[in-house]
């Protein structure tokens, strides 16, 4: 049975989709900007000495990772205004929708980033830190100059995974009316009464795949750059 399929539609729809990449990227960068620092703090607390901080960090990370992103979005979209209203008396209902999307996705990303950073940190042999301290570096210097670069290399593939996943999470914004390329794809399909859905989705996947390849290449270059000087036994 021939499904009506019009391949010519695919290149035609791509220019309609591309302008919305600014929204997709904006959400991506905003989320990373918000999520990485928070994730770092959470990981630091988890690996630190204070039992209370460890426990709180574990609970927060655990709760965040269990939350489906759409639930988080609704919590931010409906909860934050109420919070701001009661505590600060400010009505933020009119704020840009991107703010709420980035708040929601950023928090969720912080949780998974915290875990990535934690496992990367623990993957670095403890001996490295001890040796550094032995030769006179302060704890802070030992961390920044010796442990962090090595942990960074371990974290890179997983961070790459997370970034690529984030790229696609941005489509969640559609739920509160902020249109990114996936959202625009859906709108285009609807405007055509549901026809050419497959072609539109293929166009979308071409765009996403291209972006993913670019991110992957970028990360591979980063990995190569930061692991020079390390004995890369397995040829990756």
């Amino acid at each position: 049975m021939d499904k009506p399929f019009n391949p010519g539609f695919i290149p035609a729809v791509i220019p309609q989709l591309l302008p919305f990449l600014t929204v997709t990227f904006g959400i991506l960068f905003g989320t990373i900007l918000v999520g990485l620092p928070i994730g770092f703090l959470l990981a630091k607390a988890r690996l630190g000495k204070h039992a209370a901080a460890q426990c709180i960090s574990k609970c927060i990370v655990g709760a965040l990772r269990c939350t489906p992103s759409i639930v988080m979005l609704f919590i931010m979209f409906y909860g934050l205004p109420k919070l701001f209203q009661t505590i600060l008396g400010v009505d933020i209902n009119g704020w840009s929708k991107a703010f709420f999307v980035i708040a929601a996705l950023g928090l969720l990303f912080a949780a998974s980033a915290a875990e990535t950073m934690r496992s990367a940190y623990q993957a670095v042999d403890r001996g490295q830190y001890e040796a550094a301290v032995t030769i006179g570096l302060t704890g802070y210097q030992a961390f920044c100059r010796i442990v962090l670069p090595q942990a960074f290399v371990v974290a890179l593939p997983n961070l790459g995974n997370s970034f690529i996943a984030l790229l696609k999470e941005g489509s969640l914004a559609y739920t509160i009316g902020l249109i990114d390329i996936m959202g625009e794809g859906n709108l285009i399909i609807q405007r055509n009464y549901g026809a050419y859905a497959l072609e539109t989705y293929i166009a979308l996947s071409v765009i996403y795949w291209t972006l993913t390849i670019l991110i992957e290449q970028g990360f591979q270059k980063l990995e190569a750059h930061y692991s020079r000087g390390m004995r890369r036994e397995y040829n990756a």
């Binding site: 049975m1 499904k3 009506p4 019009n6 600014t22 929204v23 990227f25 904006g26 959400i27 960068f29 905003g30 990373i32 900007l33 759409i70 609704f74 979209f77 409906y78 205004p81 209902n93 009119g94 704020w95 840009s96 929708k97 991107a98 703010f99 980035i102 559609y174 739920t175 509160i176 009316g177 902020l178 249109i179 859906n186 709108l187 399909i189 609807q190 405007r191 009464y193 549901g194 026809a195 050419y196 859905a197 497959l198």
Partner: protein, 283 residues
């Protein structure tokens, strides 16, 4: 390290850009005469031709057009339009984030507990079934289809069509339609599935059938003679009001009565549906 500084700079600029870009859809703070009440009207963004976002990014659709006319008749209110998803619309109106919303809603007693339904509907949907012409001798309405096989393409339960089929099944316990739940998927699949025999009928909106099969150059035009459509009935659609907005709902009722009397509703119906949908409403 210089590289990270540059990277950080780019990230910050991009985030600022997203912020600024997103701010474009924040509520207008245009100066207005004192005493005008702003009404936040949400509408679903993918229910063509009832509510959608057109190529220029503007809110459009039959129900939105009606609301715009109502707004013109009510100088004490100013409507602002927020396209959004079904879930957000329903949660938003219930919680008060939005004052009123349209998504081609059909009325049920359960829903009346949560929202205010006005006395006058805003529009109607004509629904029926699309099926293979080869079965046209056996299928000429919903009852005969139910007796034929009842194999219907799955419907999203959030879709009001679900309630219609359920209602039909309760009224016809002898021969029922096999109602399967699904998240809404592209219409392209539904027509194909009926054509290849996976299912025997698809609960379709008349306009969708016309645009996908009958029109010249329509995606399924070559199957024009293989597919048939029979309308079932017209179901009125209503706007939803937050429980606190009885005054607004009453004002809306007054405006709709005027629009019906002067023929605006029929004209809009012609514009978006190509016919007067109210003719099909039996109640």
């Amino acid at each position: 390290m210089k590289k990270t500084d540059i990277l950080a700079g780019i990230i910050i600029l991009a985030a600022a850009g997203a912020w600024a870009g997103g701010n474009k859809d924040a509520s207008k703070t245009a100066s207005q005469p004192a005493g005008v009440i702003k009404v936040r009207a949400a509408h679903t963004q993918t229910y063509v031709p009832y509510d959608f976002v057109n190529k220029d990014g503007q809110s459009d659709g039959y129900e939105v057009a009606v609301l715009k006319e109502v707004d013109r008749l009510l100088p004490q209110y100013e409507f602002q339009y927020f396209p959004t998803s079904d879930d957000d619309l329903l949660i938003g109106i219930e919680s008060g984030k939005y004052d009123v919303g349209t998504k081609g809603v059909w009325i049920t007693p359960e829903r009346q507990k949560k929202y205010i339904f006005p006395r006058n509907p805003v529009g109607a949907s004509i629904i029926g079934i699309t099926f293979r012409t080869e079965n046209a001798d056996k299928i000429h309405d919903l009852e005969s289809f139910a007796q034929f096989s009842g194999k219907l393409v799955p419907i999203a339960p959030q879709n009001a069509q679900w309630a219609v089929v359920q209602d039909f099944n309760t009224k016809h316990p002898a021969a029922q339609i096999k109602l399967l739940p699904s998240e809404s998927f592209s219409v392209a699949d539904a027509y194909t599935w009926v054509l290849e025999g996976r299912y025997d009928a698809f609960f379709d909106i008349k306009l969708s059938f016309q645009n996908n099969v009958l029109k010249d150059g329509a995606p399924y035009a070559k199957y024009k003679d293989k597919l048939s459509y029979v309308p079932y009935k017209g179901i009125p659609t209503w706007p939803l009001f937050n429980k606190k907005n009885q005054v607004l709902a009453d004002a809306y009722d007054g405006a709709i009565a005027t629009l019906k009397a002067n023929g605006t509703l029929t004209a809009l119906s012609q514009k978006y549906f190509g016919e007067d949908v109210f003719k099909f409403v039996t109640e």
